[in-house]
């Protein structure tokens, strides 16, 4: 019953590294993370990798498996062809710390740049009211588990200049979730346009393809944000009004 598989795992640090080969015995139903943890406990005790929930809910075990950015805990071993060897390496968009662990601190810095939720005043009865049909879209965005796979595949973020110019798909949908929040009373559209780099995205949809939560990142989040920018800054009538009255300028 037991089946053996070969793994090639990238081992190393910021100074460099290489792939190392391992063999591991599998049980039925295992996912890639199970195999990696078995290698870690038996053969490579210092193999660095992140994981927490092991159920696709925390977004910690992001890595590239046979070239695809995936969650190791949600990648079943039976999706690979029999005898196919499996290559595992760290996310490419972020600096390696050790083995499969990358430095994700840049992402946490981007989050801090986004202005926080600002609630509208409560109703006369002291309560907020909003309706399910008005929050469905926001709830879709809030399913995000911050695995940063979308950031990893975003071609804008693959280099330092890109990271200086654009917050990336994860934070575009966070911005969308705030902008579409029925109770939010702030306006982040100027930030999205001027500081957070929405124009850098040219809608290749790579981010949407890798999202383990199946969030419509591009169609439901990024494109509507871009449309709001167009409506505000590039609408011909508004542009004329802006020139005349000095508002909404900067288009």
């Amino acid at each position: 019953m037991a089946e053996r598989r070969s793994f090639r795992i990238w081992r190393g640090s910021a100074e460099g590294g290489d792939f190392a080969s391992y063999e591991v015995e599998l049980d039925p139903g295992m996912v890639v993370l199970d195999a990696l943890l078995r290698i870690q406990s038996r053969e490579a005790p210092d193999l660095a990798l992140r994981w927490n929930c092991k159920a696709g809910k925390c977004g910690s075990c992001s890595m590239e498996i046979n070239g695809c950015p995936r969650l190791a805990c949600m990648t079943r071993m039976n999706v690979f062809a029999p005898h196919e060897s499996i290559t595992v390496q760290p996310l490419k968009a972020f600096p390696v710390l050790r083995d499969l662990v990358t430095d994700l601190s840049w992402n946490f810095e981007q989050n801090r740049r986004i202005r926080p939720f600002k609630p509208k005043a409560k109703g006369a009865d002291g309560r907020h009211r909003m309706y399910q049909e008005d929050v469905d879209r926001v709830q879709e965005f809030r399913k995000c588990i911050e695995c940063f796979l979308c950031q990893d595949v975003c071609h804008v973020l693959r280099d330092r200049e890109g990271q200086a110019a654009f917050v990336g798909p994860r934070f575009m949908i966070r911005l969308a979730s705030l902008e579409m929040h029925p109770l939010d009373d702030d306006d982040r559209i100027p930030d999205v346009k001027n500081d957070l780099g929405s124009a850098m995205c040219n809608i290749t949809r790579c981010c949407t393809d890798v999202c383990p939560e199946h969030i419509g990142i591009t169609d439901n989040g990024i494109i509507p944000l871009k449309e709001r920018i167009v409506d505000r800054y590039y609408d011909p009538l508004r542009m004329i009004a802006g020139r005349l009255f000095g508002r909404f300028g900067g288009g």
């Binding site: 910690s60 926080p116 909003m130």
Partner: protein, 623 residues
């Protein structure tokens, strides 16, 4: 080791743990003007709180206006088999609604009622639909809300920083010795107060819903610093964890499946819970399938289905079916919602359950039943704290959330954990601020103490040879599953304690291979030290309590014994370093609280209805 050469950071207060409780505590500390450092051994937003599914309990009364804090309080006490700290159960029931509303003010987007308010769902042991929720990913919503709000409150977040030991000065907290995982370097966090929010120690068991982080660090650090641990014998086995395939065994299946209509079946297709209704709950539980179905359809005169009895009752009933040969193919029972609800409803209300089963077990829960069985889920017990301030008996040391004891007594109701985090996280922050205001000179940990903490931490790395920490951990899990499981006997517990002592000796000589930078093997070696302390404390507490109550079941002492209602079991480290376990008498409950908890449900409902009529609108909701 030159202490001057070690990085030092100073804060007023350090919060250890960045789940719901730790984040809420840090937010409160910042709001009260304290320089606050939040330490987490993972990345921010990854704590086990994200795994919470069903919801947070609060008597908002949005779905059923008859709800009231007094009824929530009564449910909590009855669920906890009256062993809860009365005052904590009161505070929790009174303050939960305000804390939940506050999350909405910070951007949380709960599922809505038709009137546009926060929707609430049914859950085991709760009289009314009471759990504010977001599908079955409520914990993620809580943690992301607190995280996104928190990063703008000015506290420092120290990510992937593992706390090793509390530093003391004359019996008061003076700081924390810790290390950065990414570099392997040490750091001394100097502070006047520490709030522990480190969760439980479920990783001592093999079949558990807990993530790798649940290694009892806070419990063990508090114990070593002289704090008391209480009620550790009460370890909750959630009745429904996945049982197949083996690699996902133990992963949680939310109680929301049953709250939304799911039923438990044995291999003969029988709803066996109807035969397992305890007398205490008989008057509030449906006694026929017909009545249970009417309840699901919304009939207000129908009683709740027995699948929604408290977790201890359901877990034992499932075990019994399996033991008596009526289990499912892989040793669980069947949880069926496919035949009870439309596929669309299931995908909408239970999306992550749908995906979890489809992707990990290749089961479509809109078409087939799930196989489920008990899984170690939660520690009711933990660090003994003052009900109002969350302070321990060690000056400047506070604890909140799962790592603190008291709210849940012998058994926790589902949904009372997420609300626990925000209610007592907030209170711990306030408690720490009050303590610091009254503190004279800032305590200072001496160099010898700091050196000793780091020397101890590096021992597993420096040893020439020693055992593999991962394999020792697996041994511990096998031991705890078999000796300190759902049902216990003195003989098994005594044998378990002996085996734990032998294992502890081996853990003391464990070897971590490799360097210090991001080395999970080293981390595992250090975690084993904490786990073994907590495992031993659980086993010893379980041996002392000679009755069966809530989540603690003794085959050799069946049933609740009235004399045991007078005691909590408290563990602390003796002056000689040995573990001391003693029975501590419980204070008399406040008369008014005792009256409420022991009222008949109809009487109490009449009482709160009367109060509501006499009171201005809504003030009755928040007490």
């Amino acid at each position: 080791m030159d202490v001057a050469g070690i990085q030092t950071l100073s804060h007023d207060v350090v919060v250890i743990g960045a789940g719901g409780a730790g984040l809420r505590a840090a937010i409160e500390c910042s709001a009260l003007g304290l320089d606050t450092g939040l330490v987490t051994k993972s990345l921010l937003g990854k704590a086990h709180t994200v795994m919470a599914e069903g919801g947070m309990a609060a008597a908002l009364g949005n779905v059923d206006p008859r709800d009231h804090w007094k009824i929530h309080f009564r449910d909590t006490m009855r669920g906890g088999k009256f062993l809860n700290v009365w005052r904590m159960a009161e505070i929790h029931a009174r303050e939960a609604p305000e804390r939940v509303q506050e999350l909405e003010d910070w951007g949380a987007v709960f599922d809505r009622t038709r009137d546009g308010l926060i929707s609430q769902r049914n859950f085991g042991g709760h009289r009314y639909p009471r759990l504010a929720h977001v599908g079955d990913r409520t914990g993620l919503e809580m943690i992301r809300t607190l995280q996104d709000h928190g990063v703008h409150q000015g506290f420092a977040v120290h990510m992937e920083c593992t706390a090793l030991q509390l530093l003391l000065d004359g019996g008061r907290v003076a700081g924390v010795a810790a290390y950065w995982r990414d570099s392997g370097r040490f750091v001394v966090l100097r502070c006047g107060a520490v709030i522990l929010a480190t969760g439980g120690a479920g990783r001592a068991w093999g079949v558990t819903s807990n993530s790798w982080e649940y290694t009892g660090d806070g419990l063990s650090m508090a114990y070593e610093a002289g704090a008391e641990l209480m009620d550790l014998e009460f370890t909750q086995f959630h009745p429904t964890g996945m049982v197949w395939p083996l690699s996902v065994r133990g992963i949680l299946v939310t109680e929301g499946v049953r709250g939304d209509g799911g039923v438990l079946l044995n291999s003969k297709g029988e709803r066996f819970m109807f035969d397992r209704i305890p007398e205490r709950f008989a008057s509030e539980t449906a006694d026929s399938v017909e009545e249970a179905d009417r309840w699901l359809a919304g009939a207000s005169d129908a009683r709740r289905p027995p699948e929604l009895l408290t977790r201890d009752v359901v877990a034992r009933a499932i075990m019994r079916e399996v033991k008596e040969g009526r289990g499912s193919p892989h040793g669980g029972v069947l949880l069926d919602i496919a035949s009870r609800r439309e596929a669309d409803f299931i995908r909408r209300k239970l999306p992550s359950m749908y995906h979890q089963f489809l992707e990990l077990a290749e089961v479509d829960i809109t078409k087939e039943p799930m196989e489920v069985g008990p899984t170690l889920h939660y520690f009711m017990g933990g660090i003994r704290v003052d009900a109002d301030t969350q302070e321990t008996c060690v000056g400047g040391l506070f604890a909140c959330g799962e790592c603190a004891a008291g709210l849940h007594g012998a058994n926790r109701l589902g949904g009372n954990s997420l609300s626990d985090l925000i209610v007592f996280g907030q209170r711990a922050g306030r408690g720490a601020a009050d303590y610091l205001r009254g503190l004279g000179a800032t305590p200072h940990a001496d160099d010898a103490q700091v050196r000793a903490a780091f020397r101890r931490a590096t021992e597993p790395l420096h040893r020439e040879s020693g055992e593999n920490p991962y394999l020792l951990h697996e041994e511990l899990q096998v031991l705890m599953d078999s000796q300190v499981g759902i049902v216990r006997t003195a003989a098994e517990l005594e044998q378990g304690i002996e085996r734990l002592e032998r294992l502890a000796a081996r853990v003391a000589t464990v070897k971590a291979r490799g360097a210090s930078q991001y080395n999970p093997g080293w981390h595992e070696a250090l975690s084993m030290g904490a786990l073994i302390v907590v495992a031993e404390a659980v086993a010893r507490a379980a041996l002392v309590r000679e009755e069966s109550r809530g989540a603690h079941t003794r085959l050799d002492f069946e049933g609740e014994r009235d004399e045991w209602l007078k005691y909590n079991v408290v563990v602390r480290r003796g002056a000689d370093g040995a573990m001391q376990v003693r029975k501590v008498e419980r204070p008399e409950p406040p008369a008014e609280l005792a009256r409420i908890a022991r009222s008949g449900i109809e009487d109490l409902e009449r009482e709160v209805a009367g109060e509501r009529e006499g009171a201005p609108a809504r003030s009755g909701q928040n007490g």
